[in-house]
């Protein structure tokens, strides 16, 4: 009996051991899937573009019926909106569910992007935890925006290089790079930023890979642009909108937050220092990083982050994540056999740690949106205080656009500022810039007040305290907002 029992335990242990690699894979995959589902389960909504992408898909309208646009405008995300529109038409979901789908789908895509290339996927869990704890990057990875496709493509290419290093690239790799570049150009648009990884490969002295990447990038960008139906115009427009978004502003504090510079992200530097110490302890040459394009891209992204933080968050951090995962993989491979029970136990522990760290709702970061004040046509208290059909919704706060358009995708008014101030008509952009230049001083809104018609409304965040100092309008305090309109007879001046 004892012998049978002992044999059974031994056989079970052997079976678990044999399946340990598969179980580790399953644990990692499960964690990557569970994280966004849990976060969406809180009722989380991202604060910016994902809302307008979903609302746009639901509305079915072109942007010029939604925004007051200047002459610089062209649709940049038509494929993404087409995709979301088809999902909406097929599923009849509401905008919130569509946002949940993009948040979860894009995070899972990103979370799986390095897995085909790593032998120890549990290293990815450690990396995700580090990014959550030290980098504070996780909320960005949960924004449900198409830039996550670009990041996933970048991680895939960098991992492919790490996986094949030091072998020369193959034709298959060129096909993969071209396909990724084409898809990213089609969906996300900013084709020119792929010059950064190309430069990183050349700086690292990986010339054959650099030439391959450059070729794949150029071919893919053109292919992606061709698929939009306007190959040259779409390529030109993507560069032009980038130029306008950064170049129209006199100072950085009037730009969108993600175009402002960062302060150096000391915790990322500490992570790099930690990896270096690890190399020294493991008696590996720390200077061998100089021939790693992944390291160079992280460095380039960090440097350029002093101009605009997106270089760091969208290019530098993903590269640093790839660097980290392959460093940790070496450590894990040296310490634990692939089929050991210790490895399985460690992976289990890491999965729990990553899940808890990522889904932790500290500072209410995943539930902040639950208490957002809402301007909705369905609210009877707001009757007469939202813009009339064909009216204009004046505000200098882009978050008001995102949230209001998301709640009212079918409304028949237009917004003066949408997802990019550089798309506004020049005169309105000047007012917008002046408002931000003066840190929201109500007097800076005067040009808008002077041209407001009865159908238009001017909206401020607030709703408590003093009425905005613009006596030309009559004001209503809605929860979280002040709404101003041109005076009506028999209407109270402020409520």
């Amino acid at each position: 009996m004892t012998g049978d029992h002992g044999n059974f335990i031994s056989a079970a242990r052997e079976s678990v051991r044999r399946h340990a690699p598969l179980l580790v894979w399953a644990l990692v995959a499960l964690t990557v899937v569970a994280i966004p589902l849990k976060i969406i389960g809180y009722g989380y909504l991202p604060g910016d573009d994902a809302l307008r992408h979903a609302a746009k898909a639901v509305s079915g309208k072109p942007w010029d019926e939604i925004l007051v646009l200047g002459p610089a405008y062209r649709e940049q995300y038509f494929f993404w909106h087409l995709f979301l529109r088809q999902i909406f038409l097929w599923s009849h979901c509401d905008p919130g569910q569509l946002v949940g789908f993009t948040v979860a789908g894009l995070f899972i895509l990103f979370g799986f992007s390095p897995l085909p290339w790593v032998k120890r996927p549990e290293a990815w869990l450690i990396t995700l935890t580090l990014v959550t704890v030290a980098g504070g990057l996780l909320p960005r990875l949960m924004l449900g925006r198409p830039f996550l496709l670009t990041i996933s493509g970048l991680v895939t290419i960098l991992c492919a290089w790490q996986f094949r290093e030091p072998s020369p690239p193959r034709w298959r790799t060129l096909a993969m790079v071209t396909a990724i570049s084409a898809f990213c150009t089609l969906v996300h648009g900013v084709w020119y930023l792929w010059a950064l990884p190309v430069a990183a490969f050349f700086l690292a002295g990986q010339f054959r890979w650099g030439i391959l990447l450059a070729t794949g990038w150029l071919a893919g960008s053109f292919l992606g642009a061709c698929l939009t139906g306007h190959p040259f115009a779409s390529l030109f427009y993507a560069a032009e909108i980038g130029r306008r978004s950064l170049g129209l502003h006199l100072v950085q504090h009037t730009m969108a937050t993600e175009f402002q510079p960062f302060a150096g992200d000391i915790f990322a530097l500490l992570l790099v220092a930690g990896l270096l110490v690890l190399r020294c302890v493991e008696k590996r040459d720390p200077l061998s990083w100089k021939s790693s394009p992944v390291f160079w891209l992280a460095g380039l992204g960090w440097l350029l982050g002093f101009k605009a933080i997106r270089f760091w968050t969208d290019w530098g951090w993903p590269a640093l994540m790839v660097l980290t995962v392959f460093e940790l993989q070496l450590l894990l491979a040296a310490r634990l056999a692939a089929n050991s029970l210790k490895r399985l136990a460690l992976a289990g522990g890491l999965a729990v740690m990553t899940y808890l760290a990522a889904t932790s709702n500290n500072d209410g970061k995943w539930t902040e949106n639950l208490s957002w004040p809402v301007l909705s046509q369905d609210n009877p208290d707001l009757k007469g205080w939202l813009p009339d059909p064909d009216g204009i919704f004046y505000t200098a706060d882009m978050t008001i656009f995102y949230q209001t358009f998301f709640r009212n995708p079918q409304a028949r008014w237009r917004y003066i500022v949408g997802f990019e101030p550089a798309l506004m008509p020049d005169a309105d952009f000047a007012v917008y810039q002046n408002v931000h230049w003066n840190f929201g001083d109500p007097q800076a809104y005067r040009p808008w007040v002077e041209k407001m018609r009865p159908a238009d409304r001017l909206i401020f965040r607030g709703g408590s305290g003093a009425v905005p100092n613009l006596p030309q309008l009559e004001w209503k305090a809605a929860p979280g907002f002040w709404i101003g309109r041109t005076p009506r007879t028999n209407a109270p001046s402020a409520q």
């Binding site: 690292a204 960062f262 302060a263 020294c280 007097q443």
Partner: protein, 491 residues
Amino acid sequence: MFEFELPERFRRYVPLAVWLVVALVILAIPLKIISYGYLPGDDALRHCAKAVSGKPWTEILVLNSSYRLDHNLGWHALLGFVHRATGWDAEGLVILCVVGLFIVANAALWPWLKRPEAWLVALLASMIVSDLPQRLLLGRPFALTIAALMIILFVAQKSRPGRINFILFTALITFAILFHGVWYLWLLPVAAFLFAGEFQWALLLAGAWLAGTALAALLTGHPADYLSQAVTMMVGAFGQHATSRTEVTEFQPFAGDILAVVIVGALVLLRFFLKPAAVPFARSPAFWLMCGCWMLAFRIGRFWEDFGWPALMVLMVTEVEFLFLAKFSADSAKRLLLTLILAAAAFLAVTSDWNSRYTKNLTWQFLSVAEHPELEGWLPADGGILYAADMGIFYQTFYKNPNANWRYILGYEPALMPPDDFATYHSIHWNNGDAKAYLPWVEKMKPADRLVINGGGDDRPNIPQLEWFYGVSGLWIGRLPGNTFHLVTPR
């Protein structure tokens, strides 16, 4: 890329090229920042306005009886000389101070550095971790004290005590005290040399300190007053406040600057792995000065910013220079490439306008009739007093009106105010700016006086005894009602 080597005939130019790159970047940084339209927020404005006005402080501020002498006498004399020689206005002088002092502080160690690119590492690290480089852009003479301190700490590591070093140290301390004033703080580095067991150096530095102090005091022409005024100011600045909250920001305690501690940890690790032939930290006066100031900063933050961080930068430069000497030959392409990368990183990091740190001032609106004609009648009349509890109002208004014939109740140091006015000032800050705390000033205001309070256009101060005008964005001006000066209708 890093394996690339230069042809032999070009290699000898690498050290020169490195020097040029480092010098260029240190020059380019303040010029780039000035090109944003940057103005520092505090003392540089009043130093330059004082130089332009040519008036003594007694004609600019309402002062108490403890005031005897300008404690920045040498600095104002120098700026006054530049103003007279060049005709530059206050703005021109501020630009000169910002650019000049940043360069002086960042070039101070160059003559003793074998690898000047090591300075770029220290500058980059301090920019990311602390606000020291930003402080060096304030255009204030403490940058001279910092430069002198770093030279002394670095030279003491690289050479032996002797007559030449005594003369050098005496000259440095003389200049620092003549321009900056706080002679007594040099006791700190002397103590650091003693703690490090460098008794000969401690003796030499103590001698240089005493000689330099005496020399600087004699050069002012009022030796006893100059030295005693500095001590009186210090006692007043710290002794009169019931809590640190009401003190000037830079005198308030710090929270421990954990990232600086991490940097020290990194330096220790670097030593562990490289095992350089440098003096151990326990024998390093820079290390002891840094530790001492880190502790003292829990009382007063400036110990850390003006003495502790510069000592840490000296430690960083020393360690990084050892690393570079060990890893890169002087004439290698690798060294040049690394320098170029460091120069780009330092330039981008320091000139980055993160959090609008260099452009906040572009939205300042000054109380100046020349810029805002609608203020006519709303600024103090001749002989009047401008009452305000915000030192920023003094700095900016004096900067724009250096020749105005009014005085300010609050200037650059609350401890210089008459006791009853200091009590009012203290009460205002104690009560977080409550309007009722201004009443003692309101009660003694004359028609020529004005009270200026920060606040948005919707926040008229609750002081009905005065009539109010929202003068410029963010500032309310109050005056006695029935003023004979012509009145502009409030917006």
